[in-house]
């Protein structure tokens, strides 16, 4: 790693930003977009490399968009050479590829390819955290269909089958109630074609929690413990602080910090936990990037997850993660129709004091697709949640 150039010189000093500095994003969606806004605020340039031909949010926000494949080391290296540092907005790029691009270009990548290799595969991810004593949901790699029966016998039915790479928002993950279903889903997920499949015990949790942690190479910063509300495997709302006992929030924050130390990378990582009726906190998943569960932080915290991600990968001092108001609710605005995107909202939404509308600028709306979000701040979590839901329930998008 001695030949890595880029932000090294000012990262060392951590207090100089030259005007021509460029962050390269692998990916051009809403996470890159919201991060780019923070980079722009600091006078930093942004470029993006995307594998999609259709227009994504970043296409309208930078003149420097490159289209290519995420397995094309040569093209990605050329892109990296035009940037001072690279970062990611998803987990779908192979850590070997990232490693090669970093080596060939001399441009550092955060999250580091090394840390990425610890979590890019869900089986390896669980092993990485488990080894460090962080409780995870019981799991087993399923090599053949006979393992399905064994897992069911050991942990009971139903349980969850997941492909070990590439899943998000419920895709690549299904709950199975009996052996017949399990075999069917195992085959559907590609298990019989060599795809790594993971079985996870079904956790009867009462809350799903999430904690963001940032690391800039020198200091860690932990965000408030928030609560993600899911419907059909998609996060529909985030409630901050989580409506669980303080001791549980503190425990989740402690575990998140430990897990971040396992990864040891610059950047921001979101850690998702199950809180069970028996008082356990189990690490479910990690996302080595700004994450939907942290969108509330744009207005809800002094320094958002996006700004601290930018600071972290640049090696700059991190900003306070303190809440700006006692209660914060973020509602995901999911596509309500399949059409060319357009948002139709009521006027209350726009004039609500302490309400903030974010639209991602995607061109195509699809039912259930994340098209934007709405954040409402206030004093009381229950009334803020109620009000935020009522303001957003009639949005057409």
């Amino acid at each position: 790693m001695t030949n890595i150039k880029g932000p090294k010189s000012f990262i060392a000093k951590s207090r100089i930003i030259p005007a021509s500095f460029t962050i390269g994003f692998l990916g051009a969606g809403q996470l890159a977009k919201m991060s780019a806004i923070e980079a722009y605020r600091m006078g930093i340039q942004v470029a993006a490399y995307t594998d999609r031909k259709s227009h994504e949010p970043m296409h309208y926000m930078s003149p420097r968009i490159t289209t290519g494949n995420f397995s094309d080391v040569k093209a990605m290296t050329e892109f990296a050479q035009q940037c001072d540092v690279l970062t990611l907005e998803n987990e779908f790029i192979d850590s070997q590829v990232l490693n090669q691009v970093q080596k060939n270009s001399g441009t550092p990548i955060y999250p580091s390819p090394e840390s990425f290799s610890k979590i890019e595969n869900k089986i390896i991810e669980k092993q990485s955290f488990e080894k460090s004593g962080i409780p995870v949901t019981p799991y087993k790699q399923i090599a053949r269909s006979n393992d399905l029966k064994v897992f069911g016998r050991q942990y009971g039915w139903p349980y969850v089958l997941k492909s070990s790479k590439g899943g998000y928002d419920g895709y690549g993950s299904e709950t199975v109630s009996n052996l017949d279903e399990a075999v069917k889903i195992f085959n559907k997920l590609g298990g019989s074609n060599g795809q790594d499949i993971l079985a996870e015990a079904f956790i009867n949790f009462t809350h799903e929690l999430a904690v963001q942690v940032a690391y800039n190479g020198r200091e860690y910063l932990v965000y408030e413990c928030c609560e993600t509300v899911q419907s059909n495997h998609i996060c529909v709302a985030v409630v901050t602080p989580a409506r669980v006992p303080d001791s549980i929030k503190k425990l989740a924050q402690k575990r998140a910090l430990e897990a971040m130390k396992v990864l040891g990378t610059r950047g921001i990582v979101a850690f998702e936990f199950f809180y069970t009726p028996t008082g356990n906190i189990l690490l479910n998943e990690s996302a080595p990037r700004p994450h939907n569960s942290g969108h509330y932080s744009i207005e809800g915290c002094v320094t958002s997850q996006f700004e601290n991600h930018i600071r972290a990968i640049l090696g700059l001092k991190l900003g306070s993660s303190k809440l700006t108001q006692p209660a914060c609710v973020m509602i995901n605005l999911l596509g309500t129709q399949n059409r060319k995107a357009q948002i139709e909202f009521n006027e209350q939404l726009m004039s609500e004091p302490n309400g903030h509308l974010h639209i991602y600028g995607k061109f195509e709306s699809k039912i259930g697709r994340k098209m934007g979000h709405y954040t409402l701040l206030g004093d009381n979590i229950d009334s803020v949640y109620k009000r935020a839901r009522s303001l957003t329930e009639n949005i057409q998008i």
Copy 2:
């Protein structure tokens, strides 16, 4: 104006934003940049038309930059046809040109060419407001050098000479102490070559105040009265709320609203006032756009001047201008050296809770050039001001 297309349909409904909607900026500097960030947050596209060949902040933030002359009606019309609405970031474009572009393209421009014609020339500006009973600084148009003597006799020496168009940050404006100086400056400003020159009485003010007002075609919204601190004719800091009696702040807000009604345009306008030792409030200047005196509102108010400018020109409901904390200080970061821009700051600046750094991304730093700003929030205006100055005094940029 019946043939004006663009955002008409959704402005009428004021609750629909289509994904392909584009705001065109005439100008590509930091005001366009900070406004564009708010447009991006709402999923709106941004294009810019600039008369500068060198790179400006917007060059890095949009793939849609057009370079041309601000008197080239044809080129500006073509640009306008690619946009749904146009807006401005300076006062240097002729209202006749804007009117022609609006007519030819069918794309509405806010501030409207009509309102613009009332203030583009400092003499006409003063007449417009004076006619509506808003007290302005005593002034007179200087047609020939003999008028210089007459004005001095009437209002005393020193007084201020200004060219009626194109001045900003002290450029095009000088204080003269006697007739010899006055004649010299009159000639220097082009008075003997047909340039319109304005004489203004020297106001012995104790504070300079500013108030932003937004109008979306249906409702007005007035911001807090802030105080601008000047050094060598350049604003170095903005203190909000202004450190003057409440009755004075209210009066300034009232006058600003009246002045906005004189202009009657959608958009945001900043009004600057002198507060005199005898308790008078005199309107000094207006700026029909987001203005330096309102940068504090990005973090200091629930809805920033930039966001409400975007909302206003789109005809959307305006957001609350309420202060987020009792005290807010904005420090302008002026170039300290002539060099390729790079910012060198201390780590306290980045980790200060409630402190927010904005860098505009200009490539060339010049001594005194506005390169960025720093906003600090808190409870007590005096300690926040002191702390903000101490944090920023050693920045090299």
